[in-house]
Amino acid sequence: MSSVLEGIGVSCGVASGTVILVLPSITIERRLIEKNESEAQINRFKASIDQYVQNTQIVIEQSRRQVSGQETAILEAHLLIARDPALLQAVVQKIETEQKCASWAAAEVMDSYIAMFENLSDEYLRQRVADITEVRKTVLELLSGQQSEIRTLTHNSIIIADDLGPAETLSLDRTRIAAFVTEKGGRTSHTSILARALGIPAVVGVAGIVGVSETGMSVIVDADKGRVIINPTEDQQTQYAQKIQIAVAEQALLKEGAHQPGVTTDGKKIGIWANIGSDDEVKVALANGAEGIGLFRTEFLYMDRTELPSEQEQEDIYRQVLTAMQGKPVVIRTLDLGADKQLSYMRLKAEENPALGCRAIRLCLKEKELFKRQVRALLKASVCGNLWIMFPMIATLEELHDAQAIVREAREELSLAGAPIALDIKIGMMVEVPAAAINADFFAQEVDFFSIGSNDLVQYVFAADRQNQNVDYLYQPANPAVLRLINNAVRAAHAAGIPVGMCGEMAGDIMYADLLVGLGLDELSMASGSILRMKKAVRFIHSQTASEKVCSIISDSKK
């Protein structure tokens, strides 16, 4: 039977494909067994390890062809753990003497290893916790029969999940995903951002979707209407097949204008730049006509791995991106991590309120070595292109000065060591904390550029968690409260003679194109999938008229 569910469409387009249901963490069976059952339980455990080893070897084989040696090394470490004779012995003993079933015994043994490694003072060993946790999860999945099937994507896979974290989305084979559907999440959750970067449809906040979906079902995702159809009827299939064809044709048409600039009807050029989350997205950005990178989210470099990236490793990636962009501006945002974007190997303390907690520049100014390592890598890579360094979450001048001081220190150290550094690196900041938007004139004197982070700005102005779909209605980027702050930042920037752009989700939404042009933003940075539409939208705007419209909205609200 077909069922239609509604949610929030967070990117454009329609897709049809096969459901891959990604299950949340499984429940572990905890059962005491009869004495005569222990052999069977031991065999179950052994079989799950064999299965794990076999699966992992297949993945290693496949990924040798596709990805870096680094990732295969991690998988090989997982193999060593799974095959560890001490592990087997301990599990067997638990089953035999404590009469616990295989899942229970395995979970307890692995937990004891995790606890042991967590308590060691040695950094390397503490990092192994992530490896053991991963093995634990997969082996317990195998034992319970509730295996997450995320690794077995086929073409036109449509990922359905309760929620997807950044690390989980990163581990997916992106080329095979046709759409995302999540039960939780809002317009600016990670899934939404990734979907737009990949230019594929996504619907989030779909209540009840996990309950009615099963892997292998056929499904249609209509992100334009925020609709998901499980087991569509033949009529629905035909209707959507047409829609998909039209969308493909439209995309091809848009692409013809990709390499023309975004210029308004009265001749004002608006820079259309791309947001990227990894070096491999540069190609897509350029193919869509990006004139610069307006936001490179470097935290993805730090995620989905077992230890901090080395300075050299970071430098190499920054060099690649700068080189690929051939002198076009590349805005690299320094690390934006916090309790909501965790690293398995760097256990940040859980916070009551991560969005308002110790994150981004606040964390970096506490973890100065971590921050400096990134800054050094950036400075060393600077000779490869047009580097703009951007600090996130700046709220006070003091924070800005502290961050700038670290850049100065790093520069001096590197110069002494004889490393070449570009002379014309721009240092700027995100305007996303309301305090910075309000005091924009102070900040504009001290930086080379502004970039408005609309996601956080809107969230903080409305005091509404952007991941919480119950308050999704408060995501109101066009509300005069937000427009006034943006206006304030733009005026301050232009008075100081520095450029100001925007890199939040608002910047890529054609619904706001005339407002953004009217506000006077010099550059809009967005997911690569939005560039074509936005360029086209800009070409229909008269900037003078748009500016008058903005003025009237802002002053109307004064009454």
Partner: protein
Amino acid sequence: MEVGKEVTVGCPEGIHARPAACLVRVANEYAGKITIHYQNQMIDAKSIMSILAAGIGHGAKIKVVVAGDAAEPVLEKIGQLLETGANL
């Protein structure tokens, strides 16, 4: 047959990280039993977790014992691996 040998750990960071993984890989290729005697512990060289947990540092004096067929060349290989820290 069982053969043993005293070894001073030469890997710069001890039997750790890559050397530990390397040791386990070599040990796994051998059908017999390989044990490391360190302080008062007897550690199974095929168990990555036991080796890591033992925390054998640079310069530690250990004894490697290999039991099984053709034990000599295996002992030689492992001894060299741990003494020189090379070829890891």
